[in-house]
Symmetry: C2
Subunit: 218 residues, 2 copies
Amino acid sequence: MTPERLSEVNQPMTEKMIPDIVVGRLPLYLRSLRQMAAEGRQVTSSQELGERLGISAAQIRKDLSQFGEFGKQGTGYHIKFLEEKLQEILHVNRDWDIAIVGAGDIGSAVARYKGFSHQGFCVAMIFDNDPKKVGTEVGDFIVKDAANMVEEIRAAGIQVAMITVPASEAQGVANKLVEAGVRAILNYAPVNLSVPSGVRVQYIDPVIHLQRMTYYLE
Amino acid sequence: MTPERLSEVNQPMTEKMIPDIVVGRLPLYLRSLRQMAAEGRQVTSSQELGERLGISAAQIRKDLSQFGEFGKQGTGYHIKFLEEKLQEILHVNRDWDIAIVGAGDIGSAVARYKGFSHQGFCVAMIFDNDPKKVGTEVGDFIVKDAANMVEEIRAAGIQVAMITVPASEAQGVANKLVEAGVRAILNYAPVNLSVPSGVRVQYIDPVIHLQRMTYYLE
DNA sequence: TAGATTGTTAATCGATTAACAATC
DNA sequence: TAGATTGTTAATCGATTAACAATC
C-alpha cells in the first residue's frame, strides 16, 4: 500500500453520518427560532424550544451537538446565531430555484404561495402539458410547455422540483426531472415514486395524514 | 375493594397499545393495495408490498400481525380482503365530513381536490373571515362566514378539519375548532399548534419538507 | 458566589431485522 | 410432495432519556 493510499484510508470521514431522523427535526427548530426572533426574543434554551415543539430538551441538545457547540452554559442559545447556523447546516443560507410540474389547483396554489421567500426557496418556473394551460398566467408566472421541461430545467441548473400532476403521470414526470438533473422532489401526487439513489423524495398527501388521525377517532 | 371494582381492574385492556409509527404506515399499505387492485391484481405478498414502498417484508408482516392474521402461508395476502381490513382498522370504511377554514389559494385548492372520495373523507364546508370571500363559490361550495364556525361545525357533528389560514391566525382557529368538537386537525399553516390531549394534529408545510432535502444537496 | 443550562456519557427504551416452525 | 410465504420469537440495532460534570 503506497503512503498516499494509506493516508486516504486514515483520513477522517469528511462528514459524520447524521441520522435522517435528526435532520428531519432541524427545520422545525429553525422555524421555531424564526418565530421567537419575530417576537423580539434574543435568547432561548433547549427547554423552551422543547416545550414549543413537544420534544424533550435532552433530544434538542443531542441533535444540535451533532453539528457543533452552539450554546452557552447557564445562558442557553442566542436565537439569531443558532438560526444562522441551522440555515448553513440545512443549506438554506441561499435560495434554491424550484420548478413546479403541473398547473392544476394545487400547483397553482403552491406557485402563488408567499411562504417560500427567506426560507431558502424561490419558485422559478411552472410547467403543464395541457395546451389550454400553456401560456396562461399563474401568479407571477407564465405556464410553460412540459414538452421542453428537461432542457429548460437543465439549462437553468434547477435541482429542486415539485410534482403536482395526477397520480397516473407522476412517475413519468419524476423520470424526466431526474433526467434534467433534479435531485430533490416534493411529490404532491398520491403515489410512491421510484428514483435512483442520490435523488431525494418527500411526500405530501393529505389523505395519508388524515388516515393517520382517524385511527384514533371512533 | 368491591368485586365490581376488582373486575374492572382485571379487565384485559380493550385495545393493545399500537405504536404511532406503526399506525402511520398503515395508510401507505392501504394506498399501495388500492393501486394493485386498480391494476387488476388479486394477491400480493409482504415482499412485493415492501419493494413498492421501500419497507422490509418483515416489518410489514410485523405491523399487520398487530391487528390480526390476514394472510395465508405460501400464498400471501388477498388484496381486496386486506384493503377492507385496513379500512376498518383506520376507520375509513365510512366517510368523515371535513371542514376547511381559510378560503385562500391552498384552502380553495383542497376544497376542489377530487382525491378524498372513496378514501374516507368528504369536504363538507369551507369558512373564511374575509367579507370579500364570504358568499363566493369555491368548487361546489359557498364560502361561509367564519363568525359562525363553532356553531355550524358543532351542529354538523364534524370531527375533522383543515386549517389553511395564515400562520398568525392558525392557533386562534385551532382553539375554535376544538371548542366546536373537532378532534383531528390537518394544519397547512407553518406553526406548531397547541391543543388539548385527545385532539390530533398533523402538519403539512412544504418548506419543512424541502429543507429536509436541501441538507443533502450542495 | 449561587443558579442555570450546556454538551456528553451511559442507561434505557423501543423499533427493526433475521430466522424459522407452521402450513397453505 | 416441494416451494412459498406467513406469523412470531429472539437478537440486533438505533434512538431517546436521565444524569451530571463543566462552566457561564
